[in-house]
């Protein structure tokens, strides 16, 4: 199918197009030159409307063990009907959406790609089955490495060669896209009732520190030339005073160099950007973190913006989840995943009148406003900060000072003392928010065909009912309405959303990275055999074959 999107006003920061009247052509799922399109082309006229690439979410827990356990744990979530079937599938869920709801809701706000950022490798078959049941969007998953016994062992030995082999072996077995770390060392310590407090605590049983785990893995990922860098959830998440650990962690990237992309992506930084020594005097460390990130060219971050209202926190950071459960006294579920990792789940409500929640909300926005647009991506760390369906709300907050003022009036006034948000007058331009929701996340992930509209890019195009050359940032209602209801969402050349409603269902792809050409698994064969003596799964049954995936795309590293 070929498609001609006519007379739109294109904003495509990657290709230097900042509001030009242009036509876009899509053929066979790719963006092409006009000359390649024949006569049997469908034309849609979008005169004067904003035309951009499909959104890319680089961090949303959309599939796998945690979200599924969360769904079982919270039957009350399923009372929220988002969409009756109307010929497609029914979609329910307030903060824990069902798989069809995830695909539809992303498409409904103009997103066409989302990455599941935390999969225990032993559960990866299930993760892929769930990813495959999410319609429309393209996806990928990042296996968890930060608390895995072989990783500790190779980091303790400073053996980058073996670490490379292990990473390549895991990516092949899991059909994973990159390397995710969650509270490196902390989850292992939790198995003995503890945690690590910073980069230099010793991980029990292995004589190695989080600092060594992180740097050895960065070295391995860089040598393997993976498209995506190490994706890190820092130590000390959700603890007042943790911004110091975060800054120290970000500085670890200074030792490494990559001309094409960052060497470290630090995720949901809002949860790692607090000053103070207790919940009574906590404040925002966002300004200092923003200064540091802006001064470096090999680190990127995403926001982890909390949204006032219901959320369900779920992370592989089990010690933190236990503390949260004690703090908010909500129901709790813990998961220990053999030698690999762990997880915890706790429902949460972010209340605007709670000083702590208000500071969290303001801290995320400070980061979103102060960090350079090419170094930060929009995220809620779904469903930890709230549903991803709030992205239009977040983007509107970034674009409109007036909207922020209105929302700040609802929040606890402690934010005036503890954060810099009330004094920030900055309003993000359309180019900047398109950068933060498309270009930056695509570049962070190393997805060359995502996030832009150049020839050869994926045919994922969104049309919003807003004129980028002539809009009023104080009329935030109009901006929010436009972002929540795209005129069109086009996925791979197919129209899937029209006037804010899903009209078609296509099947997305699952990307995975094959790094086997960069290394050999021979050097870790004996280690793997030894390792599987302590596992409930035999080595020959471990992982998932490519044929099991619905629509896999193999990307060769290097």
């Amino acid at each position: 199918m070929t498609l001609h999107i006519k007379n739109g006003i294109v904003v495509d920061p990657k290709n230097g197009i900042a509001g030009e009247k242009m036509d876009i052509f899509i053929k066979d799922g790719k963006i092409v030159e006009e000359s390649e399109v024949g006569k049997e082309c469908k034309t849609i006229d979008v005169s004067g409307k904003l035309v951009v690439a499909g959104g890319v979410d680089l961090h949303a827990h959309i599939a796998g063990g945690k979200i599924n356990t969360g769904r079982a744990m919270r039957p009350e979530e399923m009372r929220f009907v988002r969409r009756k079937s109307n010929g497609l599938r029914a979609a329910v869920g307030r903060t824990l959406l069902t798989s069809p709801a995830i695909g539809y809701e992303y498409a409904k706000m103009g997103y066409t790609t989302a990455i599941e950022p935390a999969t225990p490798s032993i559960y990866v078959i299930h993760t892929h089955e769930e990813l495959d049941s999410i319609p429309i969007i393209d996806k990928a998953t990042l296996p968890l490495f930060g608390n895995w016994h072989p990783v500790f062992k190779y980091a303790a030995d400073k053996d980058v060669e073996k670490m490379k082999s292990f990473v390549a072996w895991v990516l092949e077995r899991t059909k994973g896209y990159g390397v995710k770390l969650v509270n490196p060392g902390g989850v292992e310590a939790w198995m003995y009732g503890g945690n690590v407090s910073g980069l230099d605590d010793t991980i029990p049983g292995f004589g190695v520190t989080p600092r060594e785990v992180i740097t050895t893995l960065i070295a391995a990922v860089e040598e393997l030339k993976l498209p995506h860098s190490v994706h890190l959830h820092c130590n000390n998440l959700g603890v007042p005073g943790n911004y110091e650990t975060t800054m120290e962690t970000i500085k670890l990237a200074k030792k490494f160099r990559n001309d094409n992309r960052q060497v470290l992506h630090v995720t949901h930084v809002q949860f790692n950007a607090y000053t103070g020594s207790s919940w009574r005097d906590m404040g925002s460390g966002a300004e200092e973190i923003a200064k540091l990130v802006n001064s470096m060219n090999n680190v990127t971050i995403d926001m982890g913006q909390p949204i006032f209202g219901h959320a369900t926190t779920m992370t592989a950071d089990s010690p933190f989840q236990f503390e949260l459960h004690k703090l908010v006294k909500a129901k709790w579920c813990n998961k220990d995943v053999e030698l690999e990792t762990g997880a915890g789940i706790v429902p949460l409500v972010y209340r605007p009148k709670s000083p702590v929640n208000a500071v969290q909300w303001a801290t995320g926005l400070e980061l979103g406003l102060l960090v350079d647009a090419d170094k930060i991506a929009v995220s809620t760390d779904y469903p930890n900060g709230g549903p991803f369906t709030a992205y239009p709300y977040i983007v509107t907050l970034l674009m409109s000072r007036k909207f922020r003022e209105e929302e700040m009036k609802k929040a606890h006034q402690y934010i005036e003392k503890a954060t810099a948000l009330p004094s920030i007058d900055k309003e993000r331009s359309i180019e900047e928010v398109i950068q933060m929701t498309r270009v930056t996340p695509a570049r962070v992930l190393g997805m060359e065909n995502k996030g832009h509209l150049g020839v050869g890019a994926d045919g994922d195009v969104v049309v919003y009912d807003i004129d980028p050359l002539n809009y009023d940032s104080s009329d935030y209602q109009a901006i929010l309405k436009a972002l929540e209801n795209p005129l069109y969402t086009i996925k791979g050349g197919e129209i899937v959303v029209k006037n804010g409603d899903v009209v078609g269902e296509v099947w997305g792809r699952t990307f995975w990275v094959d790094a086997s050409e960069q290394t050999t698994t021979e050097i870790i064969e004996a280690d793997l055999d030894e390792y599987f003596n302590y596992y409930t799964v035999k080595r020959c049954n471990y992982g998932v074959e490519e044929g099991w995936l619905h629509n896999p795309v193999r990307i060769t590293a290097g």
Binding site: P75, E76, P347
Partner: protein, 233 residues
């Protein structure tokens, strides 16, 4: 006035509220309800009569298999001359429901306001939250002249429940606020109670995690609760 035409073989799900009574008779008759898994019009199952235009629904006959009557109602009155099925008055915000017979389970579940009076007895889970939710009844009043079953006022956050007869086990479990008055006897009371008040006229069993004070008991200490369980004077 609504009256069943037949004895129902399966449950009916009828989300009727007093607002319906103000509509033209034809619209009332065409109101859709579920009979088992069939979507049917109200007048296929019930005789429907319209007297006046007040916001009052009168249900006459055996409604014990009719569920969700008065769900989320915001005003007006429902009078049930007979028994009523499960989930009656769930999510109710205001108005009044008077049940002259007995009520089934989930009476006034997650109710926010208004009043429910049961002349007979009620089933289990009166004023409860639906499974998984953190907040049960938040406001309003439920009066039960007869007895009530187990799990009364679980996770209750406000409002009042008065039971003139006896009640079962697990009263006020995880209760946060509000008041439960039981004139008769009941079983276990106050597990994981965080706040609110339970007043009991007859005998009761207290979970062990309560501290005796001058005028009753305070607990549940396991959750640092400040709930009060007292004898009804």
């Amino acid at each position: 006035m609504i009256r069943p035409k037949v004895d129902f073989e399966v449950n009916v799900e009828a989300e009727i509220t007093p607002e319906l009574a103000t509509k033209p008779i034809e619209e009332i008759k065409q109101f859709k309800v579920y009979y088992g898994n069939h979507l049917v019009s109200l007048d296929e199952l019930f005789e429907v009569e319209k007297n006046g235009s007040e916001e009052v629904l009168v249900l006459e006959g055996d409604f014990s298999r009719v569920k969700w009557v008065g769900v989320g109602m915001q005003s007006g009155e429902i009078i049930v001359k007979g028994d009523i099925g499960a989930h009656c008055g769930a999510f109710m915000k205001d108005g009044r429901i008077i049940i002259e017979g007995n009520a089934d389970d989930w009476l006034g579940a997650e109710m926010e306001g208004g009043e429910i009076v049961v002349k007979g007895s009620a089933g289990n889970c009166v004023a409860c939250p639906y499974w998984g939710d953190l907040e049960g009844m938040k406001g309003g009043k439920i009066t039960i002249e007869g007895n009530a079953g187990n799990y009364i006022g679980e996770k209750m956050c406000g409002g009042e429940i008065e039971i003139k007869g006896n009640a079962g086990d697990f009263i006020g479990t995880e209760m946060k606020d509000g008041r439960i008055i039981i004139h008769g006897n009941c079983g276990y009371v106050g597990g994981d109670m965080k706040g609110g008040e339970i007043l009991i006229g007859g005998s009761f069993e207290l979970v062990p995690a309560f501290v005796k004070t001058e005028d009753g008991f305070v607990g549940d200490v396991n959750v640092s609760g400040q709930g009060k369980v007292k004898a009804l004077k």
